[in-house]
C-alpha cells in the first residue's frame, strides 16, 4: 500500500526543506520535552508508585487542627490505643512517631531522623532487612531492650559497610541499644528516616499522655479509604465526647499514604499541570500551523492529483508520510531530551519524601508518544480534508496557493490565537511564581539575617533528667561562648525565626476564645534571658526574663505583639494573666513583657492571610520550662564571618560534655535559605523550562510567519509594483498579527482572572491589580515577540526587487 518510493520521496522532501524541517522538529521536540519534564514532576508527586509497597491501600491517619493538617503525626497515644481496640477495617494497624535522635559509638556521634514504631510497620510493607532482621512481634514488648534498625546510608557511611554491624552495641540518645538490622538501599519509610526502633505503648495510656503519632494500616479487602476515614472520625468523636477539653477542635484525617504528601504540593501541582498542558498545547498549535502552512504549498498538487482521479489515500500518503517523518524525528529527540533532563536534574528538583525522585518511567514515555501521535494525526487531517474537496476548475485555476487560503487561513489564525493564549497563560503563571519567590527571598523575618551562627543541641540521657541540669549546660555554654573573640552575644532558644517551636493552646481567663472550634494556638519557645538581645528583637513593653524567673518563682511568659492583641485587645498585656494549655487545665501564666513579632516557619505562608490564627508566639524562660524531649538552638552573634568561630564553638561543646554533639551547625542565613530551597528549586527548574518553551513558541511563530510571507511574496511583489510603500505592506501583516494577539491575550486575561484567585493564597499573589499588571507586562512581551517574529521575515521580502518578489515562487521552485 505504501511504497518504498513514497517513503523515500517524503524523506527527501523533509531533507530538502531542511530549514523548515529544523524549525518543526525543534519546536515539537522541545515542547514535548519540556511538557513531559514538567509532567514527570506532577507524575512523581501524584502518581509514582512506591516500589513494592502497594501504597494505594495503605491508610495514613494524622491530625487536622485549626484547619491545618499535619503530614506526619499529631495524634495522641491514647487515640492510637483507643482506635486499635475498636477498629477492624485495617490489617497491620500500627503507629509511628518521628523524632530526632543522637546515635553514638566510640567513633562518632551523629544526629538522625528516627521512627519509633512496632513490628507492624514492617509487616505492613512486607519488607525484610538487607542484613540481620527487621522488628518482629517478639520485639513488641513494653520497655524492652532497645533494638534498632539502621538505613543503608548509615551502614555504608558510618559503619564502613561492615558485615559485623549486626549485634553491635551503640548509644541511642545516650542509652544502650543493639543494631539488629540494616535496611536495603533506598528504604527510608515513611519520608526520609534513617533509624527504626521498637517503642511499644503501655496498655494504660491516658488521654493526656501526649504523643505525636501517625497511624497506618492496610485496607482489608472490600474496605475503602473513605470507610476508614469515616470510621476513625467516628471513633475520634467518641474520644472527644469523653474528653471534650483535650480533643477540642481536633480531628483525625485518613488518606492514602502518598496522597498525604502530595496534598501540600497542591498549588504547585495545579500550576505545573496547567503549565505543562499550556506548553504542550502551545507546541501542538505551533506545529500544526507549521504543518498546515507547509501543506498549503502542496494544495495545488493535491488538487491536480484528485482531478486526475487518484484515490484519496494515494493523494495524501506522501503528505502524511512527510509529517510522519517530522513527528517521528521530533518525538525521538523530545523523548531523549526528557530523558537527559530527568537524568541530570531529576534528583534535585523536589524537596520531599524519599521517593520524590524523577524517573523516566513508562507512563511518561507513553504520554510523550500519545502527544506526538495526537499532533501527527490532528495535522494529518488537513491534507485529507484538502484532498476530499471536489477539484473544481475554479479551485484549480485559482492562484498560486490553490485557493485554500481562506478556510485554512482562518484555521491558522485560530491556532495562532490559541498559541498566543497558551503563551500568555504560561507567562502569567511563571510571573506569579517568580513573584512568589521574590517575595520569599525578600521576606522580612523581623530580625537581621546576617552574622549569626546557629547550632542544634539535644540534651538526653541520665545526666540531664532534671531541668536544673539542662539549664546548667546552657548557662555554661553561653558564658564560655561569649568569651570568644569576635562573638558579640549568645542566646538559647527552642526555635529561631523561620522555624517552629512547639504548639501549645492558650485562652483568656475572662472570655471564651475559640478558633474553628478549638483553643487558639501559639508557637511556644523556651528561651534564655540573653536570647532577645542576641537576636536583636525589640521588647515593646515590660521586661526581659531574668535569672530569677526559675522553678518555684511565679510562672511568667513573654508574648509577641500578635498574641497580646489576641488576648488583650486594646489593652496593655504586661502584668496580666492568661490560661496556658486549657485542654489539660493548665497553669496561669503572667505576662511580663511583649516582644515584636517574628516569622514562624515559612515566610510566605506566615505573611499570608492563611496563617492569621497561627501568629501568636509564646516565650517561656528555660529556667522554668524546657521539655527534655525538645532540642534547642544555640544562637551566636558574631562580629564578622560566623564560620570563623565554628571550631571554637564545637570545642566548647566538647569540653562541657563530649557525649552531646552539636548538629546542624550553620549560619542563620543558611537556615532561612533552606526554608526557601524547596520553592527556589521548583522555580529554578520551572523558570528555564517556561522560558525555553516561550522561546520555542516564538520560534514557531517566526517559522509560520516566515512561511506565510514567503508564500505571499508574489502578492507583496504586486503591491510593491503598484507602488505601495513598505510600511503599508507591513501594516497588513501587523494588523493580522495584532488581531490574533488581542484575541489570545483577551482570552488569557479572562482565564487568569478566573483561575488564579482559585489557587491557594500565600505563595501566590493573586489579587486583581497584580493579575492586571502581570497581564499588561505579559501582553507587552508577547506583542514584542510577535512583532519581531512577524517583522523579520518581511525584511527579507522587502530586500527583493518587486520583479523578483513577483516571480519568487517560480524562482525558488527551480
Amino acid at each position: 500500500m505504501i511504497s518504498i518510493y513514497d517513503i523515500k520521496q517524503s524523506a527527501i522532501r523533509v531533507y530538502r526543506d531542511y530549514e523548515y524541517s529544523a524549525v518543526v522538529i525543534t519546536t515539537m521536540a522541545f515542547t514535548l520535552a519540556i511538557a513531559l519534564f514538567l509532567f514527570s514532576i506532577v507524575f512523581t508527586i501524584k502518581y509514582k508508585p512506591l516500589p513494592a509497597y502497594e501504597p494505594h491501600n495503605i491508610a495514613w491517619s494524622t491530625r487536622t487542627e485549626n484547619g491545618n493538617t499535619f503530614n506526619v503525626g499529631g495524634l495522641t497515644s491514647y487515640e492510637y490505643v483507643y482506635i486499635k481496640q475498636h477498629q477492624n477495617l485495617l490489617d497491620h494497624f500500627g503507629r509511628l512517631e518521628r523524632s530526632g535522635v543522637t546515635l553514638s559509638t566510640d567513633q562518632f556521634t551523629e544526629q538522625f531522623q528516627a521512627i519509633a514504631t512496632s513490628s507492624e510497620l514492617f509487616r505492613l510493607l512486607g519488607v525484610d532487612a538487607m542484613l540481620g532482621r527487621v522488628l518482629l512481634p517478639s520485639d513488641d514488648v513494653v520497655g524492652g531492650d532497645k533494638s534498632i534498625i539502621i538505613s543503608y546510608d548509615i551502614w555504608r557511611n558510618l559503619f564502613d559497610s561492615a558485615d559485623d554491624v549486626i549485634g553491635k552495641t551503640v548509644k541511642l540518645n545516650g542509652k544502650l541499644a543493639t543494631v539488629i538490622g540494616v535496611m536495603g538501599e533506598g528504604f527510608r519509610f515513611p519520608t526520609n528516616q534513617d533509624i527504626w526502633y521498637s517503642d511499644i505503648l503501655p496498655e494504660g495510656t491516658l488521654p493526656d499522655d501526649g504523643g505525636w503519632n501517625s497511624l497506618f494500616g492496610r485496607l482489608k479487602p472490600g474496605v475503602t479509604m473513605e470507610d476508614v476515614d469515616r470510621e476513625f472520625k467516628r471513633l475520634g468523636d467518641q474520644i472527644r465526647n469523653e474528653y471534650p477539653n483535650q480533643y477540642k477542635g481536633k480531628e483525625i484525617v485518613t488518606v492514602k499514604f502518598t496522597d498525604r504528601f502530595s496534598y501540600y504540593m497542591g498549588f504547585l501541582l495545579s500550576i505545573l499541570t496547567i503549565a505543562s498542558v499550556a506548553i504542550l498545547l502551545m507546541g501542538c498549535f505551533s506545529v500544526s500551523n507549521l504543518i498546515i502552512v507547509r501543506n498549503l504549498e502542496n494544495a495545488k498538487e493535491i488538487l491536480i492529483k484528485s482531478a486526475l482521479g487518484l484515490p484519496l489515500l494515494r493523494v495524501v500518503t506522501s503528505l502524511l508520510l512527510e509529517t510522519f517523518w517530522l513527528c517521528a524525528i521530533a518525538t525521538c529527540l523530545g523523548l531523549w531530551l526528557t530523558l537527559l533532563a530527568i537524568q541530570f536534574v531529576g534528583a534535585d528538583v523536589l524537596d520531599g519524601p524519599y521517593w520524590w525522585v524523577l524517573e523516566f518511567q513508562m507512563p511518561i514515555f507513553l504520554t510523550g508518544l500519545a502527544a506526538a501521535a495526537f499532533i501527527w494525526l490532528s495535522t494529518g487531517v488537513i491534507p485529507v480534508w484538502m484532498a476530499m474537496r471536489q477539484p473544481t476548475n475554479g479551485l484549480l485555476a485559482s492562484g498560486r496557493k490553490g485557493g485554500a487560503g481562506t478556510t485554512l487561513g482562518k484555521v491558522m489564525s485560530g491556532f495562532m490565537t490559541l498559541q498566543i493564549f497558551c503563551a500568555f497563560i504560561l507567562m502569567v503563571f511563571t510571573g506569579v511564581l517568580v513573584g512568589g519567590l521574590v517575595r520569599m527571598i525578600n521576606a522580612d523575618y523581623g530580625v537581621p539575617r546576617d552574622g549569626f551562627l546557629i547550632a542544634e543541641v539535644q540534651l538526653g540521657g541520665a545526666s540531664y533528667e532534671a531541668l536544673e541540669q539542662r539549664v546548667q549546660y546552657y548557662d555554661r555554654f553561653v558564658e564560655q561562648a561569649r568569651q570568644l573573640p569576635g562573638v558579640e552575644n549568645v542566646g538559647v532558644t527552642s526555635a529561631v525565626p523561620g522555624s517552629w517551636g512547639f504548639l501549645s493552646n492558650f485562652t483568656s481567663t475572662e472570655r471564651k476564645m475559640e478558633i474553628n472550634g478549638a483553643f487558639p494556638k501559639s508557637n511556644e519557645m523556651p528561651v534564655n534571658e540573653t536570647y532577645f538581645a542576641t537576636m536583636e528583637m525589640k521588647l515593646l513593653e515590660g521586661r526581659n526574663f531574668t535569672e530569677a524567673d526559675k522553678e518555684g518563682a511565679e510562672e511568667v511568659a513573654i508574648i509577641n505583639e500578635s498574641m497580646a492583641k489576641t488576648l488583650f485587645p486594646g489593652e496593655s498585656a504586661v502584668g496580666r494573666q492568661f490560661q496556658y494549655d486549657p485542654e489539660n487545665e493548665g497553669i496561669l501564666l503572667t505576662v511580663v513583657g511583649v516582644v515584636q513579632d517574628v516569622v514562624s516557619g515559612n515566610p510566605l505562608w506566615y505573611l499570608s492571610p492563611e496563617s492569621e490564627n497561627w501568629r501568636s508566639q509564646l516565650y517561656r524562660p528555660i529556667r522554668q520550662k524546657q521539655p527534655i524531649w525538645d532540642s534547642n538552638t544555640l544562637v551566636i552573634k558574631t562580629q564578622d564571618n560566623p564560620y570563623n568561630v565554628i571550631d571554637q564553638i564545637k570545642n566548647i561543646a566538647r569540653t562541657i560534655d563530649s557525649g552531646i554533639p552539636l548538629y546542624e551547625i550553620q549560619t542563620f542565613d543558611d537556615l532561612l535559605r533552606d526554608n526557601e530551597s524547596g520553592f527556589r528549586r521548583m522555580i529554578y527548574t520551572f523558570l528555564p523550562a517556561a522560558i525555553l518553551a516561550l522561546v520555542i513558541s516564538a520560534l514557531g511563530i517566526y517559522g509560520i510567519t516566515r512561511r506565510v510571507v514567503l508564500q505571499n511574496t508574489p502578492d507583496i511583489g504586486v503591491m510593491k509594483a503598484l507602488g505601495i510603500a513598505d510600511r503599508f505592506i507591513n501594516r497588513k501583516y501587523f494588523i493580522a498579527a495584532g488581531i490574533q494577539l488581542a484575541m489570545g491575550t483577551l482570552v488569557g486575561v479572562i482565564f487568569s482572572f478566573f483561575v488564579l484567585p482559585k489557587l491557594p493564597d500565600g505563595i501566590l499573589i493573586t489579587d486583581s491589580t497584580t493579575i492586571l499588571i502581570a497581564s499588561l507586562i505579559v501582553t507587552a512581551i508577547i506583542a514584542l515577540v510577535v512583532a519581531v517574529a512577524s517583522y523579520l521575515p518581511l525584511i527579507s521580502a522587502h530586500k527583493l526587487s518587486p520583479r523578483d518578489a513577483m516571480n519568487y515562487l517560480s524562482m525558488s521552485k527551480e
Partner: protein
Amino acid sequence: MNGNNLIQFEKVTKIYQAGDVETFAIHEVDLQIKRGEYVVISGPSGGGKSSILSVMGLLDKCTSGRYLFKGSDVTGMSRSELAKIRNTEMGFVFQSFNLIDTISVYDNVALPLRYRDDISAKEKDQRVKDALLNVGMDHRLKHLPAQLSGGQQQRVAVARAFVGSPSIILADEPTGNLDSKSAEIVMELLQKQFDSGVTICMVTHDPRYTTDATRAIHVFDGSIQSEEFRTPMGKAEIATA
C-alpha cells in the same frame, strides 16, 4: 534638456549573475520615450524585453547606466521614493494578471489608491467604480479574481493600471494568456487610455497588436536592433474618417 522626455535610458545595462554565468539582459541601451508615445517592444524570447520593461517600471534596478524619469535620476533613489513614483506615475499590466486572489475585484482595483492621501475616500470610490465601468467589469465588484475568466481578470488588471491616473502604462505581453477575443478587448482598453493621453509601453510578440503603436522597437540580445517611428494605422484611419 528635453522637458517632454518621460523616460530616458543612458547606456542602461542589466546583468544577471547565475553562478559563474553572466547574462547581459540589457546591454548599454539608450532610449527615450516622450509623453504621448505608444511604444511597442518586440523581439525573440530571451532578448531582454521584460528586463527593459522592469527597469523602466522601477521593478528592478539596472546594473549600470543612468535612468532619468521625468528628468530626475532614479538610480540613486530610495525604495520608498521609487514606490511613490510607481504608485502615482505608472500603471502595470502583466501577462499573468497578478491580481491578489484573497481580495475582491473592487479591492484589487482600489489597491493603488488605498494609501494615497491626496485623494479623498469618496473620490477613490468613484474612481474605482469608474475604472471598472470603463473596462466593463462593474458587475463583478465583489467577486474574487478566481471567480473570473482570464480575459475578465486582465480587464480588471487594466482598470487597476489606470485607476491612479498614471503618466505611463507598462504592459508585458498583456495578451499572452488570452484568447483572441479577450485579447482584442484588452488592446482596445489600452488604446482608449492612449487616446486619453496616457503614454503606453508594451511588450508583445504578436504583430497584430503592433499596429496601434507610434513606435516599434526591436530588441535582440539585450540591445535595440532597430527602431521605427510611424503613424499608427488605427489613428490614421480615425484621422481620415
